[in-house]
Symmetry: D3
Subunit: 139 residues, 6 copies
């Protein structure tokens, strides 16, 4: 049976900084550069969530995109959009908000509800600026 | 020998709806939402076709992009552009025009002529809106 | 007092054709080319609505973008998205759905409610494909 | 003599919130919605600066773009990038950081050095997200 | 009668350098920086041509876009695409190929045939890289 | 341990032609079409470099993007930007400058310094125009 990958894009805007609380400001600035600015900075994040599976013979869908959108909204976007990733987001507590770590955490938010739907979560792609993005495939 | 993936983008604009003729309008609307609008809607589709192979020592090409473009034009774009996918396109007869099904059908249109050229068709990526796309790798 | 132009983008996907009912199919095809395909085609339209005014001393806003978004949604996007412009849209009745005519009609839908809000509608920009768009300034 | 408009794009990422310190949190949330989140949020801002003038007979330039880029960097981007607009940016003190107000303030930062160069500052366009931007023409 | 602006985008890829033959290499490098590289460099240029006029009551068109495209192709793109602007392009002879000068020359190529069609050429916008573009309005 | 792919985009503008010096002009034009124009043409190239690895527990980084950017700048962009690929670039000597061959050569420039950093070079993606790009995975 044919396997298709389907991707939905969502967006959120958030503040963060790269700064370990157990390090001095000097060490944070030396390690993370301007990303360690104490008063935060922020980004428009673009998020692509890819699900893999066989299109249903009944609907032609791997997964209903409005259902996938609803999961992403409830489990990711509503929790991150117009928030401070380091202060306001329970699922990021205890992690540095590098794009890598944020993508892994978003995967963890989505894996169970997506996989229960019959598809398989395949990739979380997270773009921080037009010049950098990460992809996480779950392992 | 090095293997390179090369991709050419093409575009087409088409009408369609998601609506099974063996279902009632109510069931179609309940399943497919606004995509089931009886009088059709439409999209600008972006299509990326990826071919995989060794660059020729003579030309440095995996496949001549103008030849690839000609195949895509004759076998896909000329048949879909400014058409109704559900009414005007022979290779979509009997299939619901979900993006998944359309990508699979485009693969079938391209596989033989691309593979006869010496490259291997690797991926058909089809974007329906800026917020959703599918990828099909042929199996 | 400083005058600022603020723009909000919205999107809709719709079917249409360029075809005058009082002309023969031959004349329509000769005049409008593939845009006259009898079974329709469609596009993803991008719409930018620009409002001009002084930023409020209280809020810093020319117009509240969520209010502007609500007007555009109610008066334009909900009426066009996933519709057939020529069959389903009351405000386009009796007009050929060229991008020019559609932009003028969208202006007419927006002018009164935007101007009642205290800003001035300045421009409706409507993009039909990545290679063509129109701008209408209301006169 | 021909007049040409030339535009340079720059980018910065910053945190901010829309929240008046003389208002209660309730009033700020009622007025500014999620933009009033107390712990800030942030954006990738795109900035286009347009200068108008006659191309020099000697160089063909209205303004040397590397000189214009240097002015924008020193007077705008270095002061905003990876900063908190409301806490870290002297030229925004005492203003709410609406996109409108920020564009006006950027104009004020650029007007004198651009106009001393022989060109005329024509437009500051500032995009906060892919769905909204403002343009300021200096009056 | 309503006036609408309609824009068509075209693209070309070309080599050029900024280097006056009556100047020494040193002076050219000091003035034009890396753009003076003696062995040329090149760009993908994006060109937007805007025509202004009343939509025809008969067709709804300010100008037939396929006719406009044909003019741009014959008078501009075919002469510039995959060419060296400084060596291969008759209409650029004796001009430095700054983006400003190239936009003016493209205007001169288009003005007569566009205006004879019944519309008025309104703007030539030419983008050299994602970070810079010029606009010329004909005077 | 989780494996993440991280990508940085860089850009360069360069001249080139597709033309074998051991072939006649006629044969070059017959094989490479307008890409064989004797006086060169050029492009804005977009380059995405993807590195794969485990995020560091200390920083959350697979690789420090400013370090990756520095490698790409020194080993690739400074050597290609505003150059003639066929005349000015030592690492392209003796190769036809097809996009495929250029991507392979860029990989060779980056592989050792990236892999010494602790990450693994995973993909070089090189886009020549908005309609074509190649990806090379190193084998």
């Amino acid at each position: 049976m044919p396997i298709v990958h389907i991707t939905r894009r969502e967006r959120f805007s958030a503040a963060h900084k790269l700064s370990r609380p157990d390090w001095s400001l000097e060490k944070n600035l030396a390690t993370f550069g301007k990303c360690a600015n104490p008063n935060w900075h922020g980004h428009n994040y673009d998020l692509w969530v890819t699900v893999k599976g066989e299109p249903s013979a009944e609907t032609g869908f791997v997964i209903d995109l409005s259902f996938l959108g609803k999961i992403i909204k409830e489990r990711v976007v509503d929790l991150l959009d117009h928030k401070n990733i380091d202060l306001d987001v329970a699922f990021m507590r205890g992690r540095w908000s590098s794009t890598e770590n944020l993508a892994i955490a978003i995967w963890e938010q989505l894996e169970a509800p997506v996989n229960e739907s019959g598809g398989r979560l395949f990739c979380v792609k997270l773009q921080e600026t037009e010049n950098n993005h990460v992809e996480y495939y779950g392992g």
